[in-house]
C-alpha cells in the first residue's frame, strides 16, 4: 500500500532520513517508535506531502506519490499531481490543527464539500455519522476552543476520515493531552481500526497501545529503521542494544 524506496531527507547538512526502505501492506497497522529527533515525524510528513524528499521515491497504492511519470521516466511531482494523489492519505497531528473559526461539524464538512464536491447535506450526514462514531454527536455546533484536548483530537480524527482516505497517519496524537484524556483518543483509533479498512502508520510513545494494536513495530534511530518486527518480538525480545536501551528508558519513565 505504501512503499518508501531509498528515501532520503536532509535539512541543510543534517540527514534526517537516510536511504529509508519501508513497505506497508494494505490494512497493516505500523507503529513507529524511537527517540526524539530520529525522523519519525518526518516520515509521516513526507508521506502527507508536507515535506519534499531529496532522494528516492514513495509509492502509494502502486503510484509514485512524490514523482510523476513523464516520457517513461520519473520526474518530481508538481502541485497539481500532488493534489491528485494526496487524497488517499489522511493525517492527524499532535496539536490537532483544527480550524478554530469553524464549528466541529464544519471542520468535518469543509474538505468533503470543497474537495470531493459532495452536496452539503450529504457531507453533513457523513460528518455526523463519523462524529457520533468518535462519541461527539452532541458537539456538532461547538467551536474547537470549547472542547477538551481529547475531544479536539477526536474531531481531528473524524475530519481526516471524512475524506475517506486509505492510509491514515497519526503523529503522537496523544502527546499533547492530559493523561486522563489519552484513553478516549486511543479508543477512537482502536474502533477505526476495526470499522474501516485502513492502513495506518502511527508514531507513538504509548508502548502498551502499540503492542496491542500494531501488526508491526519499527524502531527508528538516527534516520534509519534500526530494528523492526512484530510487537511481541520488539517489546519482549529486542535484539539490538539501542532498542533495548530505548525501551527500558521509556518503561522507566512511563
Amino acid at each position: 500500500m505504501v512503499r518508501f524506496s531509498g528515501v532520503t531527507k536532509r535539512y541543510g547538512d543534517l540527514t534526517v532520513l537516510d536511504n529509508l526502505d519501508l513497505d506497508v501492506a494494505p490494512q497493516e497497522k505500523v507503529a513507529i517508535i524511537g527517540p526524539s529527533g530520529s525522523g519519525k515525524t518526518t516520515v509521516l510528513r513526507m508521506l502527507m506531502t508536507l515535506e519534499r524528499i531529496d532522494d528516492g521515491v514513495i509509492y502509494v497504492d502502486g503510484r509514485p506519490l512524490t514523482h510523476m511519470e513523464s516520457n517513461g521516466g520519473l520526474v518530481r511531482a508538481n502541485e497539481k499531481y500532488l493534489r491528485s494523489v494526496r487524497g488517499d492519505i489522511g493525517m492527524v497531528f499532535q496539536h490537532f490543527n483544527l480550524f478554530p473559526h469553524m464549528t466541529v461539524l464544519r471542520n468535518c464538512t469543509e474538505a468533503p464539500i470543497n474537495v470531493l464536491g459532495l452536496p452539503k447535506a450529504q457531507a453533513e450526514e457523513r460528518a455526523v455519522e463519523l462524529l457520533e462514531l468518535v462519541g461527539l454527536g452532541d458537539k456538532l455546533g461547538e467551536y474547537p476552543q470549547r472542547l477538551s484536548g481529547g475531544q479536539k483530537q477526536r474531531v481531528a480524527i473524524a475530519r481526516a476520515l471524512a475524506m475517506r482516505p486509505k492510509v491514515m497517519l497519526f503523529d503522537e496524537v496523544t502527546s499533547a493531552l492530559d493523561p486522563e484524556l489519552v484513553g478516549e483518543v486511543l479508543n477512537a483509533i482502536r474502533m477505526l481500526g476495526k470499522q474501516f479498512q485502513l492502513t495506518m502508520l502511527m508514531v507513538t510513545h504509548q508502548m502498551g497501545f502499540a503492542k496491542e494494536f500494531a501488526d508491526r513495530v519499527c524502531f527508528f534511530y538516527e534516520g534509519k529503521i534500526h530494528e523492526e518486527g512484530p510487537p511481541e518480538q520488539i517489546f519482549n525480545a529486542p535484539e539490538r542494544e539501542r532498542t533495548q536501551q530505548f525501551l527500558s528508558a521509556v518503561l522507566e519513565a512511563g
Partner: protein
C-alpha cells in the same frame, strides 16, 4: 471682529455639501484599498518568483513615493497614454492604490500570524490554494487586523484634501474657493478642520469599538 459668525453660517451649508464628496472619495478609495491590498498581499506570497517579485517591487515603489505625485501622475500623465479620468475618479483611484500598499502590509502581517499547522491541515485535507485562502486563512487573518485597517481608513480620510490639488470639489478645495471669493479664509478653513476632527474622532471611536467586539468574538 476676528471670527464672523454670520459668514460662518453662510458657508456652512456649502461646506456640508462638499463634505459629501470628501466622504465619497474616502469610502470608494478605501474599498479599493481593501480589495487591491488583499490582492497585492496574496500575489506577494505567490510561489511564482516572477509574480511575487514584481508585486513586491510595485508595492514598494508606490509606498515610497508621495501620494501627491501619484495623484498628478494619474490625472495629468495618464491622458498622454489615452487614459482620461475626471478629477474625482483620478484622485480616488490614487488614494485607493496608495493605501492598498499599506493595507497589503497589514494583511500580510495577519496572514503570517496564522500558525503553520493551519496550512498543513489544509494540505492534509487536500484543499485547493483558493479554498485554503478563502475559507481557512483569510477568515482568521482579517479579524485581528481590522483595527490596523481602521487606522488607515482614518489616515486616508485625512489625506483627501490632497485632491484639491487637481481641483476636486471636496472640502478643502471648496473652502479655498469660498475664501478667495470673500477674502476671508479663517471661517471656511477652520470649519473644514473642525469637520475632519469630528469625523476622525467618530471613526477612531468606532474602531475601538470594533476592536473590543473582535476580541470578544475571538474568545468564543
Amino acid at each position: 471682529m476676528f471670527w464672523d459668525w454670520e459668514y460662518a453660517f453662510e458657508v456652512l451649508p456649502v461646506l456640508a455639501g462638499a463634505s459629501i464628496i470628501t466622504i465619497q472619495a474616502t469610502v470608494l478609495g478605501f474599498i479599493l484599498a481593501l480589495v487591491l491590498g488583499l490582492i497585492f498581499a496574496i500575489m506577494r506570497m505567490s510561489r511564482n518568483r516572477a509574480i511575487s517579485g514584481a508585486t513586491t517591487a510595485v508595492v514598494e515603489f508606490i509606498r515610497s513615493t508621495p501620494l501627491l505625485i501619484q495623484i498628478f501622475f494619474i490625472y495629468f500623465v495618464l491622458p498622454e497614454f489615452g487614459i482620461v479620468l475626471d478629477a474625482f475618479l483620478a484622485g480616488t483611484l490614487a488614494l485607493g492604490i496608495h493605501y492598498a500598499t499599506y493595507c497589503s502590509e497589514v494583511y500580510r502581517a495577519g496572514i503570517e500570524a496564522i500558525p503553520r499547522g493551519q496550512w498543513e491541515a489544509a494540505t492534509a485535507l487536500n484543499l485547493s490554494p483558493t479554498t485554503t485562502f478563502r475559507d481557512i486563512i483569510i477568515p482568521q487573518a482579517i479579524p485581528p487586523v481590522v483595527p490596523a485597517l481602521g487606522n488607515y481608513l482614518v489616515a486616508l480620510f485625512k489625506e483627501t484634501p490632497l485632491l484639491s490639488a487637481i481641483a476636486v470639489l471636496e472640502l478643502m478645495q471648496t473652502a479655498k474657493i469660498l475664501g478667495s471669493q470673500n477674502f476671508r479664509y479663517i471661517e471656511p478653513i477652520t470649519l473644514v478642520g473642525g469637520f475632519f476632527l469630528i469625523f476622525s474622532l467618530i471613526a477612531s471611536a468606532a474602531n475601538r469599538y470594533a476592536e473590543r467586539r473582535l476580541s470578544t468574538i475571538g474568545k468564543r
